[in-house]
């Protein structure tokens, strides 16, 4: 081997080693849903490897488990889940199989995003008669940017606890996220101000937080009860309500049956608006702020 190639080889080995070492130093983060994942990436920056289990276009209530999910959960230093039963159908058996004590509830490596957040629509009494209701309240809270700030703080705390060396950077990133949200909130509020107080129809009850934040009343749903497919009589009732309240928009998520919404829209003159809870589900929404921006723009365009 010539000296020149030897130096090259040594350099290559060194490079490999450093990458390996830095890769080692990155903390493994698993997020159940893409919204938590997007915020985790902003807080963690280059110090974390974020894996998101559910796809953005997948219904968060039903996620198909694959072997890599268990592998990732085994190796996770931090797990971020909603903590509000949204993932109750699929996360518990995965965790049972992963048996990773670092991400057990109560450990610093477990972020339950809903902790410390006052959830809406907490049922006064739990009966199955009310449909597929979550006992802890409505779990679709991330679409309220102010709640997202609180979740970002949770995530930054967890990262700082698990990886104290980079704590300062996590705090800075969290501040940055907060500042961006604060700045954009004004803009978003202004865009939607002309339509404030209007009622909207949604396929599923995932938008009370968004409605609350931006001044809309999202209380008519195409589903007669959460998780139950629309029945003809219920749709007739929805159409009557829409006409009476002059509702102009129907919110649909990617995994809902758009045809039903279109049919209702046809008979009421309302518009179907593409909404999504998760960054990446709509084109051009790679991060959280872009997603909310898109939702605001789509809604404003439909109500114009």
């Amino acid at each position: 081997m010539k000296p020149n190639s030897l130096t090259k080889t040594t350099a290559a080995i060194c490079l490999c080693l450093t990458t390996a070492l830095t890769a080692q130093a990155r903390i493994n983060v698993v997020a159940t849903l893409p919204d938590f994942g997007a915020v985790a990436r902003e807080i963690g920056g280059n110090n974390v490897d974020v894996t998101v289990l559910a796809k953005p276009t997948e219904d968060p209530h039903f996620v198909d488990a694959r072997p890599s999910f268990v592998v990732k959960l085994r190796a996770a230093d931090v797990l971020i889940d909603g903590g509000a039963e949204l993932e109750i159908g699929w996360l518990p058996p995965l965790l049972q199989n992963a048996r990773n004590s670092k991400i057990e509830v109560g450990r610093p490596g477990r972020v339950q995003a809903s902790q410390g957040i006052r959830l809406m629509e907490v049922p006064a009494q739990l009966t199955r008669a009310a449909g597929d209701v979550h006992a802890t309240g409505n779990p679709h809270f991330m679409v309220d940017p102010i709640i997202a700030k609180a979740v970002a703080a949770h995530i930054a705390n967890a990262f700082a606890a698990v990886d104290p060396a980079q704590a300062a950077e996590y705090r800075t990133n969290e501040q940055k996220f907060e500042t961006t949200i604060n700045a954009r909130l004004q803009e978003w509020g202004a865009k939607l101000l002309p339509y404030r107080g209007q009622s909207l129809v949604a396929y599923h009850d995932s938008w009370p937080y968004f409605g609350h934040r931006f001044g809309f009343n999202v209380s008519v749903f195409l589903e007669p009860k959460p998780g139950i497919p629309p029945s003809p009589s219920h749709l007739a009732e929805v159409i009557a309500q829409m006409k009476a309240q002059k509702i102009k928009a129907i919110i649909v998520e990617p995994y809902h049956n758009r045809k039903i919404a279109e049919k209702v829209a046809q008979s009421t003159g309302a518009k179907v608006v593409d909404f999504a809870q998760f960054p990446g589900a709509l084109p051009g929404t790679d991060n959280y702020v872009q997603l909310i921006n898109k939702l605001v723009n789509n809604l404003a365009a439909a109500l114009k």
Partner: protein, 273 residues
């Protein structure tokens, strides 16, 4: 890989033998879709339990599901006449769609979202818990023992019904017992591994065995081998390429069936030519 796939592999080793054996009966009787119809009857039972606001993992819910499975067994044994214009498969198909539609109706009244129910009824082989595997194995052993003790009767009733009738047996009662045991096996395996897998485990190994051998014993052995290779091979591929495990096993079965079918044709050709 070992840590993640250990229990799924245990399922693929410990449980399929009984399904392969029952599959030989089912294919012989020409009632291919009975497993799906039975599973649907059981889920109708669970829907009733939901309507009654019962806990889905408790004994009462299980008893109702079992009751509906037995109802299915009764329907299939009563309609399985010795000679009839209406094939048994038609009754099975009708039971399936009516049970499925009734479940939709009940759920729309019960107003329980299907998350929990789906979870309850259709398991994912990747996420089996050791306790479930052992419970299912114990049940399979029991059913296996009953089938072993009564093997002559069951085999005659499935494979040579006319002879059974001529001997003056109460074929319908034996049918009922067969279907009832079958229903137990199906519902417990579906909860571990899902509908796709139970169907494949019942039909594919049996078809492969029938294709390649003539005696029941050989067919059973070939079937068990196919079940083992397909199950473990499918799990391996599922891990390698990160695919949903149940679907990966089913597709492996499909490929195996084509390969073995080709071997069968080649053998017959070379035997005749």
């Amino acid at each position: 890989m070992w840590e993640v796939m250990f229990w799924p592999i245990v399922v693929c080793v410990l449980l399929p033998w009984l399904l392969v054996y029952l599959g030989l009966h089912v294919v012989r009787r020409g009632i291919i879709f009975i497993d799906i119809a039975m599973a649907q009857m059981a889920s109708l039972g669970i829907c009733v339990a939901v309507l009654l606001h019962l806990r889905l993992d408790g004994w009462p819910a299980f008893a109702i599901a079992l009751g509906f499975t037995l109802l299915g067994a009764a329907i299939f044994s009563v309609t399985g006449k010795r000679s009839s214009q209406i094939p048994q498969e038609a009754v099975i198909g009708i039971s399936y769609v009516v049970a499925a539609a009734a479940a939709v109706l009940l759920l729309s009244r019960a107003a329980e979202g299907d998350e929990e129910i789906k979870n309850m009824l259709v398991g994912n082989i990747l996420l089996v818990s050791p306790l479930d595997v052992w419970k299912c194995f114990a049940l399979f052993l029991l059913v296996g023992i009953v089938h072993f003790l009564l093997r002559r009767t069951f085999l005659l009733v499935s494979f040579d019904r006319d002879a059974a009738y001529e001997r003056g047996w109460r074929v319908r009662w034996w049918d009922f017992l067969f279907y009832a045991l079958f229903g137990l096996v199906v519902t417990s395996f579906v909860r571990i591994a899902g509908v796709l897998l139970i169907f494949s485990y019942l039909i594919v190994p049996a078809v492969c065995g029938i294709n390649l051998a003539d005696s029941l014993g050989k067919r059973f052995l070939i079937g068990c081998l196919v079940a083992l290779i397909g199950g473990i091979g499918g799990l391996f591929l599922s891990f390698q390429w990160d695919l949903p495990s149940g679907a990966a096993i089913v597709c492996t079965f499909g490929v195996l069936l084509v390969l073995l079918g080709a071997i069968g044709i080649w053998r017959r050709c070379s035997a005749s030519g």
